[in-house]
Symmetry: C2
């Protein structure tokens, strides 16, 4: 996601009564028992999966107030509050940064930590504290790199459910996710109908569009063909920064809309009144923004993780997996009360795609509500349109 600090509304300092305050990421090792490994959908097994997560609020005695939040592509477990102890260089960026959904999670906020026990866990394959390709493979003593097994949205649902079990949560009050997080939320509703009370799916669908598939493919191509990629074995050497930067900048464009970019940047020049006619330098604010985003991204994100996670998004097709291609048959598996929210200018998970899912759920008789929010912010709208999203989530969670 590309949301800048100044666009995030309703973010409070750690001392504000509506903030969850200082937070500390927790670690848990899942599938420790070698006899009971995680069996991956794409083949292979994993044991001893270190998983980073944060929790806010308290689990009630009946363990009925848990809400799982699923993060987006390059997100992490730090959804709310202010991180107390950034650990590891990849995560240094967190310093002085609120959680990525602090606008929504806190005491008295839409996902009210006075009422709910909120969990957010980093996904398998990431580089933000959960086992992934940059983690040490204890069998070899070296980072996994591309020998890390391929992970899927189904694996994420499975590992997150395992975490919930370990935390004493048998049934979720709700699972909530935007973008890739929405894919995970949907998958949880499909894979664990008994354990998911309700779902909120924002800016997401049962599959990526062909265009989304294409953009992800180009991003991976740029990384894999970077002369420094070295078949994914670049740890300790020069990193495939150029490829990762290209992937990120391109993705960044898909998170915005022409309207929001036109409004925010247009053709405005960067710090000057007239063109320099420089081929390799920065002329436009738009360029400066993208370069800056890429620079900060390549410092904090692992290129291999980018490959694994975008591949998982691309692979996901709920109807293929659950209904032999029939989305209505697929939707019939869902028992959770569901709200789907799309945004008018989102072209990565466009409203039409969301409506495909909603229509199938209606045909299947699922209790589903759907809102298409008029917004100029493109895919990022689910993070930027805080007022509208806040209101919808508040009402949905009220009952």
């Amino acid at each position: 996601m590309s949301v800048d600090g100044d666009e995030i509304k309703n973010v409070h300092g750690p001392d504000h009564p509506n903030s969850v305050g200082w937070t500390k990421a927790q670690k848990i090792t899942l599938y420790e028992d070698e006899a009971n490994p995680l069996v991956l959908e794409a083949g292979g097994k994993l044991t001893a999966i270190e998983t980073e997560y944060e929790t806010y609020g308290r689990l009630n005695d009946s363990a009925s107030n848990a809400i799982l939040i699923c993060h987006a592509l390059t997100g992490d477990a730090h959804a709310a509050g202010w991180d107390l102890e950034p650990s590891g260089s990849l995560r240094e960026y967190r310093k002085k940064k609120p959680g990525w959904w602090d606008s929504m999670v806190g005491p008295g906020k839409a996902i009210d930590t006075n009422r709910f026990y909120v969990i957010c866990a980093n996904v398998l394959g990431s580089c933000y504290g959960t086992t992934g390709p940059s983690s040490l493979n204890h069998e070899t003593g070296r980072p996994w790199g591309l020998s890390f097994p391929v992970v899927t949205v189904g694996d994420w649902a499975q590992t997150q459910m395992e975490l919930l079990t370990r935390l004493g949560v048998h049934k979720l009050r709700s699972v909530i996710g935007g973008s890739m997080g929405g894919q995970i939320a949907l998958e949880m509703g499909l894979a664990y109908p008994q354990r998911v009370g309700s779902m909120i799916i924002l800016s997401a669908g049962h599959r990526v569009t062909t265009q989304g598939l294409a953009f992800n493919a180009v991003g991976r191509h740029a990384i894999i063909n970077d002369p420094n990629f070295n078949s994914g074995d670049y740890y300790g050497g020069p990193q495939p920064i150029a490829g990762l930067a290209a992937a990120r900048m391109m993705a960044q464009i898909t998170y915005l809309s022409e309207e929001s970019m036109g409004y925010k940047f247009g053709r405005r020049l960067r710090g000057k009144d007239s063109l320099d006619f420089t081929l390799t330098g920065i002329e436009f604010e738009m360029e400066s923004y993208l370069s800056h985003q890429a620079e900060s991204f390549v410092r904090r994100y692992d290129a291999n993780s980018y490959l694994y996670i975008t591949r998982a998004m691309d692979y996901y097709e709920a109807a293929e997996k659950w209904g032999q291609g029939d989305l209505t048959k697929t939707a019939a598996l869902i028992q959770a009360k569901t709200m789907v929210v799309s945004f008018s200018s989102d072209w990565l998970f466009p409203p039409d795609l969301c409506r495909e899912l909603v229509s199938a759920m209606c045909r299947a008789g699922c209790p589903v509500s759907y809102v298409n929010i008029p917004s100029r912010y493109g895919h990022d709208a689910f993070l930027v349109e805080t007022e509208a999203v806040r209101r919808l989530i508040t009402i949905f969670l009220r009952d």
Copy 2:
């Protein structure tokens, strides 16, 4: 552009009566006289500009039947017929390939070479036969690389007009261009109102969108940051192939539409019935298509030319240049009878942008007609929707 052979309609073999037959690129040296160099808009001068062009049909006695066709970003002078003598490795791809607009240019075709003398010239800065960054700088005996001066759409208009003068054409019957070629056509109408009888502008506008600016910026960023770029001095060494491929693949997505990609590729797998779960290999037809496009592109195109030409597109803003930001004032300079054609699913030069230009021309009292063609082919539509375009051009050129 990304048009595949099978999508090009109305292309005839060299022996067909509607084909211009075998063609041979011609060369001319413009601005040979050191006392009268080309003075570039962005600063600097150039002399002895070798320019590659093709002509079809014959100039009539009154020199009143000339039509200039302006090519798009990665196009060349070979607009129609079959190239007889491909010269230079970058141009090998032409072999057995018809000109890029063979569907429209030939005896009895929309741009009828029985009636018109048709000229198409490769733009300054290209790598297809006209002087550009990969050409030898005769002062140093080495390729120009980034020491080549920055070129603009205005420079292209100027050099093409110089070529026309040399060919004995004082006034064009018409100038026709799509995409970047449409930018050049518009600029010719603005810069040489007395010398342009009419204009046809397809899928183009008075500026690129902010999104277009962003995509071009990412493409250049990928090239410039490729570890093999070597500040543009890569001739004879390893080429910045990864960066150029990323730029091309990304651009390719912007030439298509979600609908056309969904229709043509969807989620179809490449040569198999089930996923391989391969991180770095090809799974989807969509990926295969993009990879294939990139592979063929990096063999035939020069990365530095890509930088120069996309920059020129980005720099162009007709209203800033001609009307102090006022598009109506700008349009008032045009004397050519004009037709603007947009395509409903084009999101690189979207219909709204074309309508901005058309509205300004209406306000300025210009004789302008405008058609928005319903099409699912995105930006490529101007090359793919041959029937609709053929009909419009035929009628426009009839009078």
